[in-house]
């Protein structure tokens, strides 16, 4: 039966032509990738060479640094707050109490279901107007508003990631923890959450990288961040390319180390699965092997 099948498969394989050859497919991929790289580098190099003004590049640098430092501070605070709040939202979401889990669900649906810009406007314009003109007590409200908006929004995404991470832990883990006398809360803290965190880490890392890029929206609530500097330079000089170089580099300067960090955290949480362990496992499976 299987012989007949494989014989019949051969002509089909051959008739699918070029794509039947794995090596050839790989070559084609490389040619396409190489062409892509050449075009991008060529166009980009030519544009930067012809459009970017080195003097202006130098002049505007300090303004970008100032904006960059502000963005970094907003990111650090919002990141810590949104991950902490998100863990709580995730726990609330899986609560056995319908009230708690539905409140968490409503929270998540609202903040994922409406645009971040709407949420920022709600906080930045909406809240002060409740006080009546000129009565709102907080000056420079745009910075707290930015942090609150980013935190509330991303706590929803982190909450969903944590919920998924917790649900991915097998039921047997909770049962094993309870069977040695742990309470529910203890089992959560000692057994479920460390594993849920590992499961959710990639999704949370992704979300936090998006948070960094979301700070570009803050220009619309008057935060003097990187896009704000771009717009001001561009409208004064009519030269978009020169400030855009800094915009691009400044965002990558935050996001690239972040994805590196996520990778490191993930590797660290990959409990004991290295080469050595694979060898050990194989050894112990072999008859008369490592098993004591």
């Amino acid at each position: 039966m299987s012989d007949a099948l494989s014989e019949r498969e051969e002509p089909t394989g051959a008739s699918s032509g070029l794509l039947a050859n794995d090596n050839l497919v790989r070559r084609i991929g490389e040619v396409v990738a190489g062409l892509f790289l050449a075009v991008v580098l060529g166009v980009l190099g030519w544009t930067v060479f012809s459009e970017v003004d080195p003097d202006l590049l130098q002049t505007i640098f300090p303004r970008f640094v100032t904006a960059y430092l502000l963005v970094i501070r907003i990111v650090i605070v919002s990141s810590i707050l949104s991950v902490s709040a998100g863990i709580i939202v995730g726990l609330a979401r899986i609560s056995s109490s319908p009230l708690t889990s539905n409140v968490a669900r409503g929270y998540i649906e609202f903040f994922r279901g409406t645009p971040l810009l709407f949420q920022l406007f709600l906080i930045y314009f909406g809240i002060p107007s409740l006080w009546g003109t000129g009565q709102f007590p907080i000056s420079d409200w745009e910075i707290p508003a930015a942090v609150i908006g980013l935190t509330l929004n991303h706590a929803a995404y982190v909450g969903e990631a944590m919920r998924g991470g917790i649900n991915a832990v097998p039921d047997g883990q909770m049962e094993a923890a309870r069977s040695i006398g742990m309470s529910r809360v203890q089992a959560m803290r000692e057994v479920i959450l460390p594993q849920a965190w590992r499961n959710a880490l990639a999704a949370i890392g992704n979300d936090q990288i998006i948070l960094v890029k979301d700070t570009s929206l803050l220009t619309l609530i008057s935060v003097p961040e990187i896009m704000q500097v771009f717009r001001s330079v561009n409208s004064a000089t009519f030269d978009p390319w020169t400030p855009l170089v800094w915009v691009c580099l400044f965002y990558l300067a935050v996001t690239l180390p972040m994805s590196k960090l996520v990778g490191v955290l993930e590797a660290r949480a990959d409990w004991g699965s290295d080469r050595k362990s694979l060898a050990k496992r194989l050894g112990s499976r072999m008859p008369g092997g490592g098993t004591s």
Partner: protein
Amino acid sequence: MSKPKPLVEFVDVNKWFGQNHVLKDVSFSVDEREVVVIIGPSGSGKSTLLRCTNRLEEVQKGEIHLDGIPITDEDVNINHLRQRIGMVFQSFNLFPHLTALENVAAGPTKVKGVDETEAYEHAQELLNRVGLGDQGDSHPNELSGGQQQRVAIARALAMEPQVMLFDEVTSALDPELVGEVLDVMGDLANEGMTMLVVTHEMGFAQEVGDRIVLMSEGEVAEVTESDQFFEQPRTERGERFLSRLL
């Protein structure tokens, strides 16, 4: 030897999953230092009975006692009681983020509040006892199934339970790894541990088991001394069960 006293008692235990009557008036007891082996066809309620014994499942009618304490009573502190009942699962359920040694020490340090040094020394002794003294630093995914299951036994023993429950602990293992786990269980029985064992390993049931409980469709079909059972079961259902094994 003094007269053994019942350590675990099942009194008319009834359990439903929805409409499904899974345990029907189950009554028998396990004496101190006794090994009782529960056998029976798939779906006869063996796992459910063990899970009710440490309240991973709730009983709807009837009672289970441990050393005279009604486990099934709503008011008992189940977290305290569970410390006195060790449980080993078919799928090991070791904590993957902890090393073997940390798995064994987790209960004593986190639940009992035993001093770390003392707990880790004791954990190391237990690993030695199950033949894994040199694997303390390994994580579960670095161990074979048989090794993981022996760590799981050590983890349960670390709480110094009065009774150990085993639910088909060798069913998920490659055949060549079954022996090492059964050996550990046999040693434990010889040391006088009270054990309630669900297994399909009839050799183990005959050699190590003191009494056999045959379950069938949620009922206890018979409770018989193990030598007697394998020679001549008391009931027709026992005979049918044995003949199907041949």
